[in-house]
C-alpha cells in the first residue's frame, strides 16, 4: 500500500518505467511480475479515451459496430422486442433496446461461441436426467433462430399477429409460456431457447461495450458499477459508498 501510494506521486509518463524498476520486478536474475505497474495510480482518475457522454456538446458519432453480421433485419427486430421485455426501460434507465442488446446478441451468435466451438459436441445424445446437462446437438445460433421463429408462430397462433406487432402484455404472455417450456420448437422445449435469450439479454446489458451492447456503459451506470478500473485501493476500505463513473476496456488500450 505504502509503495503504491508512492507511485501515485510519480509523474504519469514515467511511472510505468519507474514501477518496473522500483518494485524490483527483475530480482535474482528472474524477470517476472507486473507488466501493468504503470497503471497503478491512474485508477482514481477518469481517462478521456471514451467518447464524451453528454450529447448536447458532441454530435453522436455513427457507431460502425451497430450493424448486423448474423440476423436478417426481421430477426433483429424480433430480438429487439423480446429482449426489451426481458430487460425493459424504466425509471432506472434504458432497456435492452436502447442498450443495443440485440446487436450484442447478433455478434455473439456470429462468433465461435455461436457454433459451440468450445463445447463437447460428440455423440451420442441421450435424454438427460435433471442433474445432468441438456444433451442437444443443435448449435446456439440455430437454436436462437428456431426460437425467434417459434415466437412468431406462437404469437400468430395465439393472437393472430407476429411477435413484434403484439402489445407489451401479450409479448410477456408469450414469453411466460416459452419460459414454462410448454411450447415445442422442433421437438425441443421452448424453455431452452428462453434461457438462452434471458442469459444473452443480461450479458448484452452488462458486458463491456466493445461487444456491442451496454451502450455508452449505461447498463453499468444504472447499477453504479464502475466497469474495469485498474484499482480500488481507496474504495475497498471506504465506509461511504463511492460512485465512480464507469470505464470500459478501451481505457486500458495503449499501455
Amino acid at each position: 500500500m505504502e509503495e503504491s501510494e508512492k507511485y501515485q506521486l510519480d509523474e504519469k509518463g514515467s511511472s510505468r518505467r519507474k514501477f518496473l524498476r522500483n518494485s524490483g520486478v527483475a530480482a535474482g536474475g528472474v524477470v517476472v511480475g507486473s507488466v501493468l505497474g504503470g497503471l497503478i495510480g491512474f485508477g482514481g482518475e477518469k481517462q478521456q479515451h471514451e467518447p464524451a457522454t453528454e450529447p448536447e456538446h458532441v454530435a453522436p458519432a455513427a457507431n460502425p459496430n451497430a450493424a448486423l453480421m448474423f440476423f436478417t433485419p426481421d430477426q433483429y427486430q424480433t430480438t429487439v422486442a423480446a429482449t426489451e421485455r426481458i430487460f425493459p426501460a424504466d425509471e432506472n434507465g434504458p432497456g435492452a433496446a436502447d442498450l443495443n442488446v440485440a446487436i450484442y446478441i447478433d455478434h455473439q451468435l456470429a462468433s465461435p461461441w455461436g457454433i459451440n466451438a468450445k463445447d463437447y459436441m460428440l455423440g451420442a445424445f441421450y435424454k438427460a436426467e435433471a442433474t445432468q446437462q441438456e444433451q442437444i446437438r443443435i448449435l446456439r445460433k440455430d437454436l436462437f433462430l428456431l426460437g425467434l421463429k417459434g415466437l412468431d408462430d406462437y404469437s400468430t397462433k395465439k393472437f393472430d399477429s407476429k411477435f413484434t406487432s403484439l402489445n407489451a402484455e401479450q409479448q410477456d404472455e408469450v414469453l411466460t409460456d416459452f419460459e414454462s417450456g410448454d411450447y415445442k420448437l422442433s421437438g425441443l422445449s421452448s424453455s431452452i431457447f428462453f434461457e438462452l435469450l434471458r442469459m444473452l439479454t443480461i450479458e448484452g446489458a452488462y458486458a463491456d461495450p466493445m461487444y456491442g451492447g451496454n451502450k455508452n456503459m449505461e447498463g453499468w451506470a444504472m447499477r453504479k458499477f464502475p466497469g474495469s478500473r485498474m484499482n480500488y485501493n481507496n474504495e475497498v476500505v471506504s465506509k461511504e459508498f463511492i460512485e465512480l463513473e464507469p470505464e470500459s476496456l478501451q481505457s486500458h488500450m495503449g499501455h
Binding site: 520486478v25 511480475g33 507486473s34 466451438a117 445432468q132 443480461i202 447499477r223 480500488y232 474504495e235
Partner: protein, 572 residues
C-alpha cells in the same frame, strides 16, 4: 508412428501449481526436466485486457477446451453417465500455470485432524460414528510432518494472513500480513466476536504488500481490482506459477517446456513406467518421451484418467472395495448460506480481491463437539469480497421473477446492497462415489473420458443443515432488513455453479491395499511414477485445496530428487 525422443531423467505431465513446483525444485537441483503442457505458453502479457467479465468468466477463456475433452457424470451407479458439454459446475485449468493462473488465491492449511481423521474420529466418537460405507482413511502423514512443506509453499507464494489459534501449529508466521479489513468485514467481526467466535482474515495469495520470495522473485501488492477469480493478475500480485515457480525453473536452463502437447498415455510394463506418449495438438504429430521418472500433475481428473488409460495401478471396484485408482472422489458442500438484503445501505462491493475474506474457525474440523450430531468435520463460515460483477451477480429477493420489469428493478436496487454469510463444508468419502473410465464417450484423441459417479452423502447434507443455521445466526447478529437462507444441500447437479475443489482418485496412505501412493506420492505399484495433486487427498477438508497441494508437491520433489540420486527404490 510416433517419433521417439532422447531419454531424460524426468518428465512432468501438466504445468500448473504441482507441475510448476516440481519443475522448479528438480531443475534447481540440477536435474534435466521435460515439462509437457496441453495448453498454451502464458506470461502476464496474456492478462492485459483482462478485466473482461464476459470473456474470462462466462466464456471461460483460460479454461480447458471442452470440445477436446470433458468428464461424464451420473449421480449413482444405476444411471447412465452423460458428458458435461459446457461449463456449469467446476471449471478446469489449461495452459502454463494451469488453474493457478485464474484461481482466487485462498491459501489454507488443512487441520491436524484431517491427516489422522479416521483414528481421531474413532478415538473420540467410537468406530460407528459414520457407517461402514464411508471409506474414511488416515493420510499416512501427520500435520507435524507436513508442516515444514506448508511453510516452504507459503514463503514461495508470499501468503498473507494471520495466525489462528484454533488451527495447527505454525513454525513461522505468514510471510506477509493480512489483507485489508473492509467495512463489511468489520460488521462480521463484531457480530461473530459477540457470539463468542474467533474471526480471522482469510489467508491470501493476493499479496497484501510488495514481497520478495526465497527464490528472488519480487511481486507487487494487490490493488483490489476485483478481476481476480477467473482472471489472471496483470500486476503479478496474485501468486501464480507463471510469476513464481515457472520462471525460476526456466532460469536454471534445465527445463524443456513443451506446450500444445497433450499426453495420452504413460508407457509401462505394469510395474515401472518408461515414458509418456503425447500429441502435438496443433500438428497432430505423436511423440514418445522416454524418462527415468514420470511425474503426473495433470489435475485430479486427468491424473486418474491417465493411469486408467495406461493400465497403471489397480482400478477401484465399488462392489468389492478393492483397488485404489478412482477411489474416494470427494467434492465440497457450499449450500448453507444466508443473504442479507438492505433497503437503504450501499457497500463498495464492486471492489475486492479473490482471497479477500474473513472467517471463523469455530466450526471447522473437530473444533466443536460432534457427539450429538450425525456428521463429522465442518465448515469455514465466512464473508468474502471478490468484487460483484454485473453479469454474474444479480441478487433479488426470492419470489422475484427472473426477468422483466420486476427483475430489473430489484436487481438494480440490490446491486450494491446485499451481503452474504457463507459456508464451505468438508466432504467425506463414500464407497459409491468414485471415478472410472466412461464405456462410451471419448476425447478428441480417441481416449476414453473420465466418468464421475457422485452425489452428496447423507453425512454432508446433515453438515449443511447445521451450518446453514450458524450462518443465519451470524447474519441476524449483523442485522439487515431481510434475510434468506439456503438450508438444504440439493442433489449434485452438473449444471450448478459450486466450486473447483475436486479431490481423490489417487489417494495417499500407509497401506498399498487401500491407497495408491505413499506419503511422497510415489505409486505403490510403480515406483518411478509420482502422482501429485488433490487426487492424493483421501477426503476433502472444508478448506480450499491448493495450500495442501503445494505442500505435498514440495514433499514429493524431495522424494523424487532422492529417488533419482539413489537410483530407485521405495521411499518409505
Amino acid at each position: 508412428m510416433s517419433t521417439k525422443l532422447p531419454k531424460v531423467p524426468a518428465v512432468i505431465v501438466g504445468m500448473g501449481w504441482a507441475g510448476g513446483i516440481i519443475a522448479s525444485e528438480l531443475t534447481k537441483a540440477g536435474i534435466k526436466v521435460v515439462g509437457i503442457e496441453r495448453g498454451k505458453e502464458r506470461t502476464t502479457n496474456d492478462y492485459l485486457m483482462g478485466h473482461d467479465e464476459l470473456r474470462f468468466q462466462h466464456r471461460t477463456e483460460l479454461m480447458q477446451d471442452l470440445s477436446k475433452e470433458t468428464i461424464t457424470h451420473r449421480n449413482h451407479p444405476n444411471m447412465r453417465a452423460l458428458p458435461m458439454r459446457s461449463y456449469g459446475t467446476f471449471i478446469v485449468g489449461d495452459g502454463v500455470g494451469g488453474a493457478g493462473s485464474h484461481w482466487n488465491g485462498q491459501t489454507y492449511r488443512f487441520l491436524p485432524y484431517d491427516f489422522e481423521i479416521k483414528s481421531l474420529t474413532e478415538e473420540k466418537y467410537g468406530a460407528n460414528k459414520l457407517g461402514s460405507e464411508y471409506t474414511l482413511q488416515d493420510w499416512g502423514i501427520t500435520y507435524d510432518e507436513i508442516e515444514p512443506y506448508y511453510d516452504t509453499f507459503e514463503k514461495m507464494a508470499g501468503i498473507s494472513g494471520e495466525t489462528v489459534e484454533m488451527y495447527g501449529h505454525r513454525s513461522n508466521p505468514y510471510p506477509t500480513g493480512p489483507m485489508v479489513k473492509t467495512p463489511t468485514f468489520e460488521l462480521f467481526e463484531e457480530a461473530t466476536k459477540k457470539l463468542g467466535y474467533h474471526p480471522y482474515m482469510l489467508p491470501s495469495a493476493n499479496l497484501s504488500e510488495n514481497y520478495t520470495n526465497p527464490d528472488g522473485i519480487s511481486r507487487s501488492a494487490c490493488q483490489y481490482c476485483a478481476f481476480c477469480e477467473n482472471f489472471g493478475c496483470e500486476y503479478g500480485a496474485k501468486a501464480d506459477p507463471v510469476v513464481t515457480v515457472i520462471p525460476v525453473a526456466k532460469e536454471t536452463g534445465n527445463l524443456d517446456l513443451r506446450t500444445h502437447s497433450n499426453v495420452t498415455r504413460i508407457l509401462n510394463d505394469g510395474t515401472k513406467a518408461t515414458g509418456v506418449v503425447y500429441v502435438n495438438t496443433i500438428t497432430g504429430e505423436e511423440f514418445e518421451q522416454p524418462a527415468d521418472v514420470v511425474i503426473v500433475t495433470s489435475y485430479v481428473f486427468n491424473n486418474v484418467r491417465l493411469l486408467l488409460n495406461s493400465n497403471l495401478g489397480t482400478p477401484y471396484n465399488p462392489e468389492t472395495g478393492e483397488g485404489s485408482i478412482g477411489k474416494n472422489y470427494c467434492y465440497q458442500v457450499s449450500a448453507g448460506a444466508t443473504t442479507l438484503f438492505y433497503e437503504d445501505k450501499e457497500f463498495n462491493n464492486y471492489a475486492g480481491a479473490g482471497a479477500l475474506g474473513i472467517e471463523i474457525p469455530d466450526f471447522a474440523g473437530d473444533n466443536f463437539d460432534h457427539s450429538d450430531v450425525n456428521f463429522i468435520h465442518g465448515s469455514g463460515i465466512r464473508m468474502t469480497q471478490y468484487g460483484n460483477r454485473p453479469i454474474a451477480i444479480n441478487q433479488v429477493p426470492s419470489g422475484t421473477s427472473s426477468w422483466g420489469s420486476e427483475f430489473k428493478k430489484q436487481s438494480i436496487k440490490y446491486a450494491n446492497s446485499t451481503l452474504q454469510v457463507k459456508s464451505q463444508g468438508a466432504s467425506m468419502p463414500h464407497k459409491d462415489n468414485y471415478l472410472d473410465l466412461d464405456p462410451e464417450y471419448k476425447d478428441a484423441y480417441g481416449m476414453p473420458l473420465l466418468r464421475m459417479t457422485y452425489d452428496y452423502t447423507e453425512q454432508d447434507k446433515e453438515l449443511v443443515k447445521y451450518m446453514s443455521k450458524v450462518t443465519r445466526k451470524i447474519a441476524e447478529e449483523i442485522g439487515a432488513d431481510h434475510y434468506e437462507t439456503t438450508e438444504e444441500q440439493a442433489a449434485f447437479n452438473v449444471n450448478v455453479d459450486t466450486n473447483t475443489h475436486n479431490t481423490g482418485g489417487v489417494i495417499m496412505g500407509v497401506d498399498p491395499k487401500t491407497s495408491a501412493v505413499n506419503s511422497y506420492l510415489q505409486m505403490w505399484e510403480a515406483e518411478n511414477v509420482f502422482v501429485i495433486g488433490a487426487s492424493a487427498f483421501p477426503h476433502n477438508s472444508s478448506f480450499n485445496p491448493t495450500g495442501t497441494i503445494g505442500a505435498l508437491s514440495y514433499r514429493a520433489s524431495e522424494g523424487i530428487i532422492k529417488y533419482l540420486k539413489d537410483g530407485g527404490g521405495s521411499l518409505v
